[in-house]
Amino acid sequence: MISKASSNASCNLPGFHFKMLIDLNRQRLKYYLDLIIVLTKKEIKVRYKNSMLGYAWSIANPLLYALIFYFVFKIIMRFQIKDYSLFLISGLFPWQWVNNSIMGSAVSFIGNVSLIKKVRFPRLFLPLSQVLNDAFHFLASIPVIIIFLLFYDKYPSITWLYGIPLLIIPTFLVVYGFSLAVSSVNLFFRDLQYLIALLLTILFYLTPIFYTVKFVPEKYRYLIYINPFTPLITNWRSLFMRNIFNWDKYLLSLAYGLFVFIIGYLIYNKLKDRFAEMI
């Protein structure tokens, strides 16, 4: 009994300090969370306030692309892909998230010059708010996919309930990794902004969005598979179209996601101390 009490007492002091540390971290964590929420809300609000058709616009863009590809590849080129319009939008909607976030993050830092020059706060939350904003829009566009499904006499299944949250993770990691790298490097080489638009176009065509992997000749397939977006987009599509969640692809995309995120973070981390002098 006594020994227990004494051991308790001896633990008390460091235990107390440890608790203080946890409290301090919790406070900090709470603050970071507030900051992320406020910045993201701002992005979302601004997007809706700017135009009355905010939501419609963010849906219209991928739908228009779908229409063009449908016309070119289904009607002119006679692609043999079943339910082609559904096939297109279930790849184009997630791609919209990827594309908008990476493009948008190019100006995450450059667009906030005076904050970066004067205030010390975790700058990596600026591109983060951009990525979360687009993630929100992607989720908000899922009902449109459901409408298309119903049109083809298909229905979402219970798989979606875990498939969507699980797939969000690697998508977020890849996108945020790229965004961190692009937003940071763009401060040092402003040309990157234009290069990125080009690069994203190339990536778009190298990702099986309007074609399937099977179309690709065997000897070029590696090109499609070294693209971190391939397992992601194809998995999103099989989930939306056929209610199938592919674990092999998932683990591959998760590995890509972690890899890209770590590289992006390292680039940000290396450059972040010189942000204020570059602007």
């Binding site: 900051l35 306030k49 005076s114």
Partner: protein
């Protein structure tokens, strides 16, 4: 004597000029590019040392490009010195320039939350201080309008109101008081006086001698990246 809250110890800072010129330059002229970048170093601060004590009002004065704002950047922690060390103690709030961190499409109220949190408040803190911030800014009728409809004086008032309600221990002011009408400027100066009474350390950068003399006890004169002199200002207040 109270303890120093800011110690600037043999700090030098230089900037490489022409860094952000583009990939074309970099790719086609790589060797000259690196040589140029090294040669074109520009010393913003050259071996600067001073200490600021708790509760002191400290002025930094000097011509354009002398390195005043660089000192503020170093104290705020957004710049890293190339040599030497800057140590600070306590919550730092910078007064931002006109409309920095604000978004024109958001209302005054939404911008207060945004700005307050970026400056270090939690959301609860910001919301509980909301009324006081709005009061101080004198923008009652406009506070729910998007701030793109505000005049520049109104935006300045809003910015100042948020910054002073962060309850900083160290307040950084960079040529801010030039905006707003005389009445509001008076109010700002009064607010700073009351900060001084509460023991807030104030660092004030300007090239207007008048304002420095109104507020500060000590002032350093920076010229050509070095401290020319440190003056004590007579008890005028």
């Amino acid at each position: 004597m109270s303890e120093p809250v800011i110690i600037v110890d043999h700090v030098s800072k230089f900037f490489s000029l022409h860094y952000a010129s583009g990939i074309k330059e970099l790719l086609f002229h790589l060797p000259t590019y690196i040589k140029e970048a090294k040669r074109k170093r520009f010393f913003a601060l050259n071996d600067i040392s001073f200490k600021i004590e708790k509760g002191e009002s400290f002025g930094i004065i000097g011509p354009n490009g002398a390195g005043k704002s660089t000192i503020l950047g170093l104290i705020a922690g957004v710049l890293k010195p190339n040599s030497g060390k800057v140590t600070t103690k306590g919550r730092i709030a910078p007064l931002l320039e006109l409309g920095a961190g604000f978004h024109p499409e958001l209302t005054g109220r939404e911008n207060i939350i945004l700005n307050a949190i970026i400056l270090g408040m939690t959301k609860n803190e910001a919301q509980s201080k909301m009324d006081r911030i709005i009061d101080f800014s004198e923008l009652k009728d406009f506070i729910d309008q998007p701030i793109r409809t505000y005049s520049s004086g109104m935006i300045a008032r809003l910015g100042f109101s948020v910054a002073v309600h962060v309850e900083p221990e160290i307040l950084l002011i960079d040529e801010i008081l030039a905006v707003g009408d005389t009445k509001f400027q008076e109010k700002c100066i009064n607010k700073m006086m009351s900060f001084k009474k509460m023991g807030v350390t104030i660092i004030f950068v300007t090239h207007s001698r008048d304002q420095i003399e109104k507020i500060c006890e000590r002032v350093i004169v920076i010229e050509k990246s070095r401290i020319q002199k440190i003056e004590k200002i007579g008890k005028k207040i």
